[in-house]
Symmetry: C2
């Protein structure tokens, strides 16, 4: 199915559906990861008991709003894009923190908070001295985002619907995201999807391939490991070529080696942006996506989009937390002088 021609102009740039989550970041070391059998650089889902136990063992922490798609919106909003977010928090203090932070960025966020015993999601993030982050996610209220919580008019009003792969795991948000795709495409909008994590791909490869095969994804974000996993290819270039044949815009970050994009069959490469000191890599991929999309929305060249993605990622890894702190608009304006 190809997208319909939009019947009305979009009034928002991007609406995202993602985990509504507060990051709990603490310094750690390799020994701590080993003791707790954690795989460095990965994301694992944990239940309430493990969340409690791991938190009790962790060092002093900082709480900073996160969530992959919400981080991307934070970057887009900082770059002047009009955005809306859909995700579910509990009516608790961390839910209030998440909601405040997303609204403080000028992002529309109206998904009702749920009452009851299932708290707002949090991600226990251990940052090792090499600046790598190891994420342990307690999904809480986020994983029960019901289809009924979607504001379909909001989705239809945005030029791009952005979906977070992490949220494909739980049943209700998966159904909600399918409904959102239908709504967006029915209104002639584009759908962007981020693959999020190798383990998520392992669990849902068939779904993701099916979406791609049916032409439901217009813009796909990934990293090297993810695109190889999705295509079940060891070779990055082969993997990229395989998937790019079915996706108009395919973007893959390659860590410190930069990123590539294949747009309508043409391959582009861009270097990583320099960083004085890498402090915490949490949010690097999310902000790359933000920079790339912002330039893409502005009708800039693919090369410019890769550059702005790299610059936004460089900013976010230079400090704690997965949301930008410097003015990304100033960074962009310097880049495109």
């Amino acid at each position: 199915m190809t997208a319909s021609v939009p019947t009305t102009p979009a009034t928002l740039d991007v609406v995202a559906i993602g985990n509504a989550i507060v990051d709990v970041l603490a310094r750690s070391d390799d020994a701590f990861l080993a003791e707790h059998a954690l795989t460095k650089g990965g994301m694992q889902l944990i239940d309430a008991d493990m969340a409690e136990n791991l938190y009790a063992d962790m060092g002093q922490a900082k709480e900073i709003s996160g969530g992959s798609a919400a981080n991307t919106l934070a970057g887009l909003a900082a770059l002047g894009k009009s955005c809306g977010f859909i995700g579910q928090v509990n009516d608790d203090q961390l839910g209030a923190v998440f909601a405040h932070d997303v609204r403080a960025l000028g992002i529309r966020f109206d998904t009702p908070a749920v009452q009851g015993d299932i708290p707002t999601a949090r991600c226990l993030i251990l940052v090792t001295p090499d600046a790598q982050r190891t994420m342990n996610t307690f999904l809480g209220a986020s994983q029960f985002l019901p289809e009924q919580a979607l504001d379909l008019d909001l989705i239809r009003s945005a030029g791009i619907l952005y979906l977070e792969g992490y949220l494909w795991d739980p049943t209700q948000p998966r159904a909600a995201m399918r409904a959102a795709i239908d709504a967006a495409r029915g209104a002639g909008r584009k759908v962007a999807f981020t693959l999020s994590d190798n383990f998520v791909i392992d669990r849902h490869r068939a779904d993701f391939i099916d979406l791609i095969d049916r032409g439901q994804i217009d813009i796909l974000f990934s990293n090297e490991g993810e695109i190889c996993s999705l295509a079940q290819q060891d070779d990055f270039d082969t993997a990229v070529a395989t998937i790019a044949a079915k996706v108009p815009v395919l973007v893959s970050t390659c860590g410190e080696r930069g990123a590539i994009a294949i747009v309508d069959g043409v391959r582009y490469e861009g270097p990583a942006a320099p960083v004085a000191q890498i402090v915490d890599t949490t949010g690097a991929g999310d902000l790359f996506a933000a920079g790339f999309l912002a330039a893409h929305i502005d009708g800039r060249s693919v090369q410019d989009a890769l550059s702005l993605g790299a610059a936004a990622a460089a900013e976010v890894i230079s400090h704690w937390g997965a949301r930008p702190e410097e003015d990304l608009g100033i960074i962009r304006d310097k880049l495109f002088l």
Copy 2:
């Protein structure tokens, strides 16, 4: 009254009574402070409504455990001192954050959390580009710390009882601190007191002077403005001399000009420690006190105590949040090579 001779050796170095508070830190600018009629560099108490309104207007924030005395203990613990904390949180998520963070530092913290509608204290901190912090404190559960919540055996077991002047405002903690002073001095322990803030001194000058006149304070921490306000003297040296006559150890920080200490009538001066970039001055005074006290407990010279205070303060103002991030033990060992 002079302190009794201790009947048993202290098993803890320091027990502190202070606000159990989570800092909510956001970037701000002078225009925002002006619009909200906030006095830069100060601390004001705000009620629940103002907390809600100010928070709604503030930008995206970070939540980091704070509280003046608790910050000082964090520094002391990082410097290898054994510590206990007394302060009241609610049984809510921010209370759990505060308790986790203080315990993660190895600090004993057993004050029961209260149930009910009065949430854990938070301090809305606006950090301007000049790295100054402007604090707006909603005291919540912290201001209802009852005397019955004190663990008097814990207080008697510590060589030093450390008290936060901020907590003199509310009635219940003030009564609790008076009882704590009696318990500590009855067991022959020392009492350290931090003046905290000019406005607190304005409200409680008579109480503070009375404590000092009666020889209840062994170690007094202040800054220039506070000691001048306490002594009601415009001239810093006159103010210091006036108060030092009645306090065995008087310490006053002087911002970027360093700090002075008057110990048993002898005056010592120490410079501020260099900082590559001052990011957020929240906690500077608290960590100065930590460094000074740690060296004092170790029996080092007053000059060393001033140096370690300066080094600990320099660390905490080089990043967001009022608790140390670098290993203060390494910083101390380099200093005292």
